[in-house]
Structures are given as structure tokens and as C-alpha cells.
């Protein structure tokens, strides 16, 4: 997790376009300036970053479903639940399921688990649009290569 860069996903573990699901790993770092402020003596992964991690997981699923032709942006967060604390050093297993692929938007349900225990969940709406800048697409392709985005899904029907 490159937490200071808001790049929260480390590895795509499973991507099933037929089942419209994705599962990724995200390792919360042991140390970060974020934990110095949030909170002194009681470091916690901020809830908004857990929601962001679910949004990014959903985003990679949408990018795969749209064959890397569209960029998703978080637009709405519903039914977000943060059931227990997430602390430095924990490994997050994050899933997302594509509930609906509309014209220019997508809706997902996402979860975060820690050591097999459901920890967070949310329903997310993403606006989906052509990449607004070629530099963004180039960067996303670099990140995709780093996190093991299965490029074969782009070739297959």
C-alpha cells in the first residue's frame, strides 16, 4: 500500500469477469505519518481510506469490465459500515461485485476482511468516463502492471 499516494491496492488476487467479481490484497503499512495523527497512542487506518480502498477495488473491476477504455471515479457511498478497528500492519482482503453496469456509471458492493473476518462493507456508485487525460491512463497502466492486473481479460471477449 502506498498510503501517502492514495494507491491502496497491492495485488489483484482474483478477477472473474463472468462472475463480475474481484478480490485484491492491501497491506496496511506498519508506519506512516497518517498514524501519527490518527491517532496518537492509538493508530488506526482511517475509515475514509477503507472506503477509498473499496472504491479502488471496485474501480479495477470496472476498468477490467470496460477493457481499460474507461476511468471510474467515486460518486456515491451508501450503507458504509466500519465494523472494527483496522490497525497498522494488517493485511486487508478486499472484494467487489459489479451489481450494475449502466451508461456512464456503475454500482458495486464491496467488502473488506481482515484474517477472514468481515470488517467493512459498502455500496458504491462510480461515474465511468473516457480517460480525461492520457497521462492518467498511462499512470493507471503502470499501476496495473505493478499490482498484477490480468491483461488477458482485455483480449478475451
Amino acid at each position: 500500500m502506498r498510503i501517502e499516494y492514495f494507491q491502496l491496492i497491492d495485488r489483484i488476487v482474483d478477477l472473474d469477469l463472468d462472475g463480475r467479481t474481484i478480490r485484491v490484497d492491501a497491506q496496511v503499512p506498519n508506519e506512516s505519518t497518517i498514524f501519527e495523527g490518527h491517532f496518537p497512542g492509538h493508530p488506526l487506518m482511517p475509515g475514509v481510506l477503507l472506503i477509498e480502498a473499496m472504491a479502488q477495488t471496485s474501480g479495477w473491476l470496472v476498468i477490467a469490465a470496460t477493457k481499460f477504455e474507461r476511468m471510474p471515479f467515486l460518486a456515491a457511498v451508501k450503507e458504509a459500515k466500519l465494523r472494527s478497528f483496522v490497525v497498522p500492519g494488517q493485511l486487508l482482503s478486499i472484494t467487489a461485485k459489479l451489481m450494475h453496469e449502466g451508461s456512464g456509471f456503475a454500482m458495486t458492493k464491496a467488502t473488506v476482511s481482515v484474517a477472514g473476518k468481515p470488517t467493512c462493507e459498502s455500496e458504491l456508485t462510480l461515474r465511468v468516463m473516457p480517460f480525461p487525460d492520457p497521462r492518467l491512463r498511462a499512470n493507471m497502466e503502470e499501476v496495473a502492471a505493478r499490482i498484477g492486473f490480468p491483461t488477458e481479460v482485455l483480449a478475451n471477449g
Binding site: H100, G102, F105, T125
Partner: protein
């Protein structure tokens, strides 16, 4: 067909946006009269897509409005929206 389409859409809007059902009329403009913004409209589009088994072509409509090739009235006055929905349903069955 048209009246039941309208009833379904009006009920979706009333429920999704918490707008009194009686305020929603065939002549209502979703944006100008009912005050529904583009983000709230995504929830309506989601429910319409599900209810009718279609995919409202929102990207195409937005592009046409932005390019000056269409007016928002053509898509967002509810009787016109319902006619589009009927057309999409018919095209799906054809």
C-alpha cells in the same frame, strides 16, 4: 403501455428522491421541475434499468445535449423519458 411505464417511473422517482408522488406528472421535467441532479438521476437510471431490463443511454443523451443536438426536454420531461423507455423495451423484444 405508456401509462404503466409512467406509473413505474413516477414511483421510482418518488421513492428514490423522496418526492411526493402527486408532484410527479407526465409534463414534469426531472431536472427543472423536480430538482433531480445528475447524481441522483443515476439512482433513478439504475432502478429504471433494472425494472425494464434496459440500459438508458445516458452518455449518448448527455453528449447530444452538450453538443446542442438535443434539448434536455426531449429526454427528461417524464412523458418523453417514458416514450424512450418504451422504445428501448420494444427494441429489446424485436
Amino acid at each position: 403501455m405508456m401509462s404503466s411505464t409512467f406509473d413505474t417511473v413516477a414511483n421510482i422517482i418518488a421513492e428514490t428522491c423522496d418526492i411526493p408522488r402527486e408532484k410527479i406528472q407526465p409534463e414534469s421535467h426531472a431536472i427543472d421541475d423536480l430538482g433531480i441532479d445528475s447524481l441522483d438521476f443515476l439512482d433513478i437510471a439504475f432502478a429504471i434499468d433494472k425494472a425494464f431490463g434496459i440500459k438508458l443511454p445516458l452518455e449518448q443523451w448527455t453528449q447530444e445535449v452538450n453538443d446542442g443536438k438535443a434539448t434536455t426536454e426531449q429526454y427528461f420531461v417524464l412523458k418523453n423519458l417514458c416514450a424512450r423507455i418504451d422504445g428501448l423495451v420494444a427494441a429489446k423484444g424485436a
